[in-house]
């Protein structure tokens, strides 16, 4: 049921779709179908009712007519009676009158009619069946009655009215008495229609009879009697008072019906109330021409309404059931589809998973076998439960031999047994360092293998600690290489320094060319001036020669200072002097590289202990590196700043360039030997610098400068 509601809710909430349109169409179709079926049912019921009305009409019309016609021959028969004729011709014939009285009485009794009587042409009753009753008609004049007037004209007439004498309603059938083609009297028989009315009283739907003037005079509903279909005109009312058809009644009000004509016209619906209850009747009028009456037969219209209602309700129920069935069916289909999809997915997933597991297993196997790192898994007791191929190769033992072994393992080195036990205990208690430990083991063929062992906990899928997994790296070759490397390093430093010196000497030689050139020129000029006897200029030239000679000597001294033997740590040095001397050395190199230099030297800088030449070499190296880092820049932007400063207990030289900077990926290897970013570089400069600085117990660091460039900082302990 919840699904149902969700389905319905979905319909109401979701935006209109093609499916919703389909549903709307279906809904409209169902509504129309229900509506039409209701109407069809109503029409059907109406037809039934109409049929029953028509049936009733035919019966009742016939009944009324037969009631009238049954007696119609009696007056005619009586009119032919000789006594009747005789007393009409002879008014004084008392015995004849008596005979007629008795004659009429006997017929009346026999026929079962109310009364039978004979009138002369004046309308005076001269003989009657009730001649000896208290309310005898004899002697009464009914000349005003329509049946008399009609009969006097020579034709039989029928009239329903209330008796003027008795006050009892009845049917008056009058026939003229004709002698020699002259109307000499009228014979009348009065018939009660009470039997008919009594028979109608039991009917559920009313039957009413109206006369030619539209006044209901007979029927199953007493309240409606003597009411008119339409209010009578003045003329009609006068006619009524004159002929006293319905006694002394003066008013004939309109019957309280609201009439609704149906299609076709002959059938109509009456809305009315009986004893306070509203009613609706289906009615048909039927004219009985022989009597001039209209028979109005009704049937309960509610039957029709009920039929429609019932059809609608049934239709709605069926439609509802249909809709719910569709919804249920769809839901069922959907769920079935979902279930089948889910089942298929599950099957696929199982297949995939199986495949994955198989692949994962194969992958793991291949991985284990292809690793150059030995893998060894042990349970909590230290029993080996897995080794890979590499592990077997490192130790020289087969997997079958190793698996199942408990410490001491066969590859443990006899000389390191104590160490192995300690390492094993650490590993088993989870205390071995994450960085691993070095362990010397013995290969099965007897040679030593140096390994690095890293151990981690082995945890199964449920999170349970099941043992230890170790990776074993063979570092024998690495160790050998390292030892070789250390041996080379010292040689390399020497080589590097020589190379560095070579560069420096070349630079200084270039520097020396300037004063030499000047010397040459001044000397030549002096020579000429001497010949010309131009003493003033001769003296000036000679003075210049002295100056240039001194300058050359200075340069040579610097070169000498730079290449003299190393005397580490024996001098007290002033770093400002170191910087100044380096700047002098590099002056021409700076010019060649179009590099500006800005020095900012702190006055009264504390002294340090060190080797001038080596420190100069470091600074030269740093400045040269800076210049090379700025080669891509336009000449005017190539600036190197050199500063000396004192921080804490250290004295520093900072060399700042605005060059390309040091990429993060090479920063780590910057000080390594043979590392170079220059195409023709040896890669020894910074390595040697660091070695020199470290031998002075100092620090050489570098940092990036914003927005571009690098700052190298040399720090040495100040001399106290």
């Amino acid at each position: 049921m919840r699904n149902f509601i969700s389905v319905l809710t979905r319909f109401s909430n979701s935006p209109p779709t093609r499916r919703d349109a389909l549903w709307a169409t279906l809904l409209i179709f169902v509504v129309i179908t229900v509506y039409v079926s209701g109407n069809w049912s109503a029409t059907f019921a109406l037809k039934g009712q109409v049929e029953s009305i028509q049936h009733s009409i035919s019966i009742n019309a016939l009944g009324l007519l037969s009631n009238a016609e049954k007696f119609s021959s009696l007056p005619y028969t009586a009119s032919l009676h000789p006594d009747v004729l005789s007393i009409l011709k002879d008014d004084k014939n008392q015995s004849g009158k008596q005979a007629v009285n008795e004659y009429l009485e006997s017929i009346n009794a026999q026929a079962g009619s109310d009364a039978m009587y004979l009138m002369n042409v004046d309308g005076l009753t001269i003989a009657a069946s009730n001649w000896n009753s208290g309310q005898t008609f004899v002697g009464r004049n009914y000349a005003n009655r329509p049946y008399f007037i009609d009969a006097l004209r020579g034709k039989p007439s029928v009239f329903y009215g209330i008796g003027q004498t008795t006050g009892i309603p009845g049917l008056f059938l009058a026939t003229p008495v004709i002698a020699n083609r002259v109307v000499i009297g009228v014979v009348v028989i009065k018939v009660s229609l009470r039997d008919v009315e009594d028979a109608w009283a039991g009917l559920t739907a009313p039957i009413m009879v109206s006369d030619a003037k539209g006044i209901f005079f007979l029927g199953s509903v007493p309240q409606w009697k003597f009411l008119a279909k339409e209010a009578l005109s003045e003329e009609g009312l006068q006619w009524m008072s004159r002929h006293k058809q319905y006694g002394d009644r003066k008013e004939f009000t309109q019957i309280p019906w609201v009439v609704e004509r149906l299609e076709g016209g002959s059938i109509y619906i009456i809305h009315t109330a009986l004893e306070g209850t509203p009613h609706r009747y289906l009615a048909i009028d039927h004219l009985i021409p022989e009597l001039g009456w209209t028979l109005t037969v009704m049937a309960d219209y509610h039957v029709v309404i009920w039929a429609r209602m019932v059809a609608w309700i049934l239709g709605a129920l069926i439609a509802g059931l249909l809709v719910f069935s569709i919804l249920y069916w769809r839901l069922r289909e959907k769920r079935f589809l979902e279930q089948s999809t889910a089942r298929q997915e599950l099957e696929l997933r199982v297949i995939d998973r199986t495949q994955e597991l198989r692949e994962a297993h194969a992958f793991q196997q291949a991985m284990g076998d292809s690793l150059v790192v030995g893998m060894r898994a042990r349970d909590l007791q230290g029993r080996i439960i897995y080794v890979n191929t590499a592990m077997c190769e490192i130790t020289g033992y087969s997997a079958d031999t190793l698996i199942g072994c408990l410490p001491p393992y066969p590859y443990w080195h006899q000389d390191d047994l104590a160490r192995h036990w300690i390492d094993n205990a650490n590993a088993m208690s989870g205390q071995s360092a994450l960085t691993g430990f070095e362990s010397r083991i013995k290969h099965r063929d007897g040679h030593d293998v140096l390994t690095m062992v890293y151990t981690a906990a082995l945890v199964d899928a449920t999170g349970k600690h099941k043992g230890w997994m170790s990776s074993v790296v063979d570092i024998t070759e690495q160790k050998k290489t390292e030892a070789k490397q250390r041996l080379h390093d010292t040689q390399l430093q020497h080589t590097g320094r020589l190379a560095s010196m070579g560069e420096m000497v070349s630079t200084l030689a270039h520097e020396l060319n300037q004063p030499l050139m000047a010397l040459c020129n001044f000397a030549s000029a002096a020579n000429a001036f001497a010949k010309q006897g131009n003493n003033a200029l001769l003296v000036e030239s000679l003075g210049e020669i002295t100056v240039q000679a001194q300058r050359s000597a200075d340069i040579v001294k610097r070169v000498h200072g730079f290449v003299r033997p190393v005397t580490l740590g024996i001098e007290i040095c002033q770093l400002n002097t170191v910087v100044s001397s380096v700047l002098a050395i590099l002056k021409s190199e700076m010019k060649l590289q179009h590099t500006q230099i800005r020095s900012n030297l702190l006055e009264n800088l504390p002294f340090v202990k060190g080797d001038y030449v080596l420190l100069e070499q470091v600074v030269v190296n740093l400045i040269m590196n800076g210049m090379q880092a700025m080669q891509h820049l336009p000449c005017e932007q190539r600036v190197i700043e050199v500063a000396t400063l004192c921080c804490d207990e250290m004295v520093c030289i900072k060399v700042k360039d605005n060059g390309i900077g040091i990429a993060p990926n090479i920063a780590a290897s910057l000080f390594e030997p043979f590392f170079t970013t220059k195409r023709d570089g040896l890669g020894l400069g910074l390595n040697i610098c660091r070695t020199i600085v470290e031998s002075h117990k100092g620090l050489l660091t570098f940092e990036d400068q914003k927005p571009a460039g690098t700052i190298f900082t040399l720090k040495l302990n100040r001399l106290i």
Binding site: H510, Q514, M517, A518, C520, A525, E544, V547, Q548
Partner: protein
């Protein structure tokens, strides 16, 4: 050629080198001007003078090569000698290929230096003479009317007056003759051979 109207210019940022060269040339009787930078030299506006410039390849500010390029761009008649230090030989060689007179490596012997300067000044003198002649020739050439210029070019290649009249079609033989006579008179030449040489030499 009298070289006394020619000047020597020295551009070097090393004061010793600059002063010593000045002193040297002074002692040999040359008119010499020294500049400590390329900017100072260019500001002095000597580009349209005649003589020799000794440029140091390495200078603070604009380099010797840049000065050389500027001189060439301004169509200067100055002859250029480069002074090169250690390691700049290739630059100097390239400069010579581009039209510099030569280079001197520091330090160099006075004999070589003076010889090179002498040669350079000879070249400078030729340059000056050429400039003067060219100027004179140009002024003569400009006295010709466009029609005369046109006819003189045809005369120079050896065409007869008849041929010229036919080639130009809308001109009479006699008129060509008149123009021809006027060209020779205006340029001060005698025959068509001389006219041909005149046009070739001064590239009109």
């Amino acid at each position: 050629m009298n070289t006394s109207s020619l000047s020597l210019y020295v551009v070097d940022d090393d004061e010793a080198v600059r002063q010593s060269l000045g002193m040297l040339f002074l002692s040999r009787g040359y008119a010499v001007q020294v500049f400590e930078s390329g900017e100072a030299f260019l500001e002095a506006n000597c580009q349209q003078q005649y003589g020799c410039v000794i440029l140091d390849l390495r200078l603070d500010g604009i380099s010797g090569l840049q000065i050389f390029d500027q001189l060439r761009a301004q169509n200067s008649a100055l002859v250029v000698l480069f002074l090169s230090g250690h390691g700049d030989i290739q630059l100097a060689v390239d400069a010579v290929k581009n039209g510099a007179m030569g280079w001197l490596e520091k330090p160099c012997s006075e004999v070589l230096l003076l010889k090179k300067v002498e040669l350079a000044l000879v070249q400078a003198g030729k340059n000056m003479q050429w400039k003067v002649e060219k100027k004179k020739a140009t002024s003569l050439w400009e006295r010709l009317t466009p029609r005369e210029k046109e006819i003189s070019r045809l005369v120079a290649v050896g065409k007869s007056s008849k041929g010229i009249a036919k080639e130009l079609s809308n001109i009479e033989y006699r008129t060509v003759e008149t123009h021809r006579a006027r060209v020779f008179s205006k340029l001060g030449l005698i025959n068509s051979n001389e006219l041909d040489r005149f046009l070739r030499t001064y590239d009109f």
